[in-house]
């Protein structure tokens, strides 16, 4: 039976990670369910678990750096993220739609990323925003794009001796923003499909355009190829590009269950967002 730990310091946690390959637990909302054995029994996993929820000084908090980047500590909860006024809108929207209140008070951003479920709520907007993940170990620190870190369904590039320390979101300014999560119910629902999109228009030119699809493949999907069909094109050309763009995006996603529903609904959400650009709707949130 695996022995579980509560390290007193981050150094102790990094040592446990290195020596015992202990699984870090901050909120527990995924791990406690994965190891569930029923009434009166402590969950059990195939490796030791180390509880790090109290290491707030080292792994918590949300701050804005001088360059405008927002740094979210790995054990910041969905509730903290949803109520922060420095966290970008797309990420706040996703955090506020995770589970219900009690879950948001426990679930952390590091856990949501580390679990790497294609239906996870936070990776989708973070990948839209080119967020980077900061990984620490006894040997130092490395940083990589979250899109590269999450390799597929439930698989990441996390090394056995590493801990997710924080997530860094570079600054951005969008003319139009879109976020939609579709679930079975308004609250307490796992994402059936989600989409974020953003665009920046300058002097009649689309200078930035991006989208990310959640629950539409083994990982969050961003198609730079499809995005590049719209970037640096004049707004008046967009209407004519829409059919080819939608086809390219449809090609990029790979939903395995209910594919027709997911493809059709993704197309409709993208169409709505592009329509706002084409029509020159007032700046801000596209609904």
């Amino acid at each position: 039976m695996a022995v579980n730990y509560v390290p007193s310091t981050l150094d102790e946690a990094l040592l446990l990670r290195k020596d015992r390959k202990a699984i870090p637990l901050a909120g527990g909302t995924d791990i406690m369910v994965q190891g569930k054995r029923g009434l009166g029994l402590a969950p059990q996993l195939d490796r030791p678990v180390m509880i790090i929820s109290h290491l707030k000084d080292e792994l918590g908090g949300i701050r804005k750096d001088e360059d405008g980047s927002v740094v979210i500590g790995a054990i910041a909860t969905a509730a903290e993220i949803a109520s922060s006024d420095i966290v970008p809108w797309h990420v706040r929207m996703a955090a506020s739609g995770m589970g219900a209140i009690a879950l948001r008070n426990s679930a952390t951003i590091g856990g949501n990323i580390g679990n790497a479920s294609p239906k996870g709520d936070l990776p989708q907007p973070l990948i839209l925003l080119d967020a980077e993940v900061v990984l620490i170990s006894f040997d130092g620190e490395r940083r990589m794009l979250l899109d590269d870190f999450i390799k597929g369904s439930k698989t990441t590039d996390l090394h056995d001796d590493e801990i997710i320390a924080s997530i860094v979101i570079p600054p951005h300014e969008f003319t139009y923003s879109y976020y939609r999560k579709i679930g079975m119910r308004k609250a307490n629902a796992i994402s059936k499909l989600s989409l974020s999109a953003a665009a920046t228009i300058k002097d009649g030119l689309v200078v930035d355009f991006r989208a990310s699809s959640g629950a539409a493949g083994p990982k969050v999907i961003r198609s730079r190829e499809a995005e590049s069909m719209i970037i640096r094109r004049p707004v008046e050309d967009i209407e004519g590009i829409v059919p080819d763009f939608l086809e390219a995006w449809d090609h990029a996603i790979s939903p395995h269950a209910m594919p027709r529903y997911r493809r059709n609904t993704t197309s409709r959400m993208l169409t709505r967002f592009l329509e706002a650009i084409v029509n020159g709707e007032p700046e801000g949130i596209v609904r």
Binding site: N4, Y5, V6, P7, S8, E12, L25, A26, G27, G28, T29, M32, V33, G35, K36, G38, L39, G40, L41, A42, P43, Q44, V49, I51, S53, H54, A79, G99, A100, I101, A102, L103, N105, S106, K186, A187, N188
Partner: protein
């Protein structure tokens, strides 16, 4: 390394020295005999095991006791004899909110957190506040009305 987990439950100091991955709901029910805390789904979905940890509503079935280091935990037993707790319990009774009763301790905890931060919630805000608490008797309307009654009756109590 913390070999013992020290925290407070309803104002009393608790020292736990078993497996830190033990579910908080089991410590509360089996070790501390606080059986007002109910377990429904065991997956954090139904809200029956809701308790208040450091002022925030959480589901105790998916919280390991090791994550409660230094925490202040409140269960239904810790609030039911307080003025605020009585206000909610009496409103639930008078408003006919209770059918089988299994979800009620969790509902009361959710209502307590809501009214403590929002003394005069709208019906929509009440529904959002209990959106993680499932009532299989489906008596939601009477529960929402009873929380509104607790807000009205409590008045300054919740300010």
């Amino acid at each position: 390394m913390h070999r013992q987990i020290e925290f407070r439950v309803n104002g009393n100091k608790v020292v736990y020295s078993g497996d830190p991955l033990t579910r908080l709901v089991d410590v509360l029910r089996d070790d501390l005999r606080l059986t007002g805390v109910k377990e429904g789904c065991g997956e954090g979905e139904c809200g029956a095991c809701s308790i208040i940890k450091d002022g925030r509503l959480v589901t105790s079935c998916i919280i390991p006791v090791g994550a409660c280091l230094g925490s202040d935990i409140l269960t239904i037993e810790g609030i039911r004899d307080t003025e605020k707790g009585r206000c909610i319990v009496e409103a639930f009774r008078d408003g006919g909110a209770v059918q089988c009763g299994f979800c009620i301790p969790g509902m009361v905890m959710a209502a307590y957190v809501l009214l403590s931060s929002n003394p005069a919630p709208t019906d929509e805000e009440i529904r959002v506040a209990i959106s993680g608490n499932i009532c299989r008797c489906t008596g939601y309307d009477l529960i929402v009305e009873s929380i509104r009654l607790a807000a009205e009756r409590g008045g300054a109590l919740w300010q």
